[in-house]
């Protein structure tokens, strides 16, 4: 197994600021918009972006939630292991809001498909956008594309993109891992 650095801490920081600005451009004061980080790995990115928007761009309040899609996945009973759930925390109304899904890596699109079903349990959003830090091109199983993307990556199926966050893994870095 070998791994190479796709993005360093400095590069990630620049991209996060660019993504924050793109969100700001489309949503301005975030009064009609809610950010939803997808469990388990999308929540770190969602928290970071909300922090940048608040602290560096003066957005006063942002509704930030976490959505777990385990019970909506299409591979229940298809793997060897029981699918383990994570915490969902959405303590605001989604009805008629603009929802931005936030996830670290967009790969087959199946998680986003599940998330689109899951979010409907909380109401009918006006529209749903998708923000992803890494977009793995040419590997989609479903017609799903991100609205905002950090970096596009061409990786073959045997490779894995590993996103590490300082608060969880000790440093900000993204690796491309070859098995």
């Amino acid at each position: 197994m070998s791994q190479k650095v796709l993005l360093s801490s400095k590069e990630i920081n620049i991209i996060l600021h660019r993504l924050a600005c793109q969100l700001l451009e489309n949503h301005l004061d975030f009064k009609e918009t809610v950010l939803v980080g997808l469990q388990p790995r999308g929540i770190f990115l969602a928290v970071r972006l909300a922090k940048i928007l608040k602290e560096e761009y003066g957005v006063e309040t942002i509704d930030l939630g976490f959505l777990d899609i385990t019970f909506y996945r299409d591979d229940f009973r298809r793997g060897d292991k029981t699918l383990e759930a994570n915490k969902t925390k959405i303590d605001f109304l989604v009805e008629d809001k603009k929802v931005v899904f936030i996830d670290d890596v967009l790969y087959t699109g199946r998680s986003i498909n599940a998330a689109l079903t899951a979010i409907q349990s909380f109401g009918r959003p006006r529209e749903v956008e998708l923000l992803t830090l890494i977009d793995r091109r040419f590997s989609r199983h479903l017609p799903i594309q991100p609205t905002y993307r950090g970096r596009q990556v061409d990786a073959i199926n045997e490779e894995k993109v590993k996103v590490m966050w300082e608060e969880n893994d000790g440093e900000d870095v993204i690796y491309l891992v070859k098995k």
Partner: protein
């Protein structure tokens, strides 16, 4: 640990402590699901579950059926009263006939102890015991412990008192197994005639004085007097039972501390507990019922994910 160690839920006796924790953690997630505007997830859309009840039930059956439907499973219901069981069909034949219609899981209540265990050895299906005679009622014990955990933060180290007919109670036995497994201290209290011999061998202590026992406990689980199982007279009159083993508000108020009151239902109001106790702030009886759905969703979800 992300998988149950068993393929059926036949009794708490066959579970490990880690199984109980996994069920509770999963139930936490389902409890959140049940508070959403749309209380349904699509996980079990390709699973069919048969609820087979050879004995009456309202809350357990309703709770199981709701749990199954909230998980999007297909549900078929069967009561022995209107079935070919009356014509003399055996249990294995009945269940195998149901299973040949492509049913993946069976939830069964039966008046005979061990019916679920027997069935699990003879049919190819995941079995959940919803009460087998005076033996076990595992989902009730799980939801009882889950409700204690929710109210007091933890089950370990808590003093739990079980009052009433210990002899005929599957709720008592499953609760004792579950509570001991989680490190709680358990005491039982009731008429000597309704106390099984050698009950101490399960690691519980016996107290015949209700006031003393209540002063000791953090939680009191008041069992129902099951008139349908009392084939002979175990106590002189219901009134005498109530005087010695019933809990009323005056008794609760005279204790040194505020304790939590539980009851597996259905309540005989004025017998085990009075109405003002059942409806008081100390009672978590309706929380138990609410948690029952989340617990059963967790059990079904975890067992279904092992069906290949």
């Amino acid at each position: 640990m992300s998988e149950l160690s068993v393929n059926h839920l036949l009794g708490i006796k066959y579970l490990k402590e880690s199984d109980i924790q996994l069920i509770f953690e999963t139930a936490d997630h389902f409890k959140e699901v049940l508070n959403r505007p749309i209380k349904k997830v699509p996980s079990l859309r390709d699973i069919t579950i048969a609820n087979i009840f050879f004995e009456n039930s309202t809350r357990t059956r309703l709770s199981f059926e709701l749990a199954e439907k909230r998980l999007s499973a297909d549900v078929v219901n069967f009561s022995a009263g209107q079935s070919s069981v009356k014509k003399g069909e055996t249990l294995i034949d009945t269940v195998n006939n149901i299973l040949s219609m492509k049913v993946d899981m069976v939830v069964m209540r039966h008046p005979n102890p061990g019916a679920g265990i027997f069935l699990s050895k003879h049919v190819k299906s995941s079995i959940i015991n919803a009460g087998d005679g005076a033996h076990e009622h595992p989902t009730q014990a799980l939801l009882d412990s889950y409700s204690i955990r929710e109210k007091l933060g933890d089950v370990s180290g808590k003093n739990v008192l079980i009052v009433g007919d210990i002899l005929h109670s599957r709720v008592a036995l499953s609760n004792i197994f579950a509570l001991k497994l989680q490190g709680a201290n358990v005491k039982v209290c009731g008429p000597k005639t309704l106390m099984p011999k050698h009950i101490e061998s399960l690691g519980v202590s016996v107290e015949s004085d209700l006031r003393k026992a209540l002063n000791w406990c953090d939680v009191a689980n008041m069992l129902r007097i099951q008139n349908e199982r009392l084939d002979i007279s175990y106590f002189p009159t219901t009134r005498e039972y109530t005087q010695q083993y019933g809990v009323n508000k005056a008794l609760l108020n005279s204790l040194d501390k505020e304790i939590v009151i539980m009851h597996p239902g259905p309540i005989n109001r004025g017998v085990e507990i009075t109405s003002d106790v059942a409806d008081s702030k100390q009672s978590i009886i309706l929380n138990q019922v609410e948690n029952g759905v989340a617990i059963r969703m967790a059990v079904i979800y975890l067992l279904a994910s092992k069906i290949k």
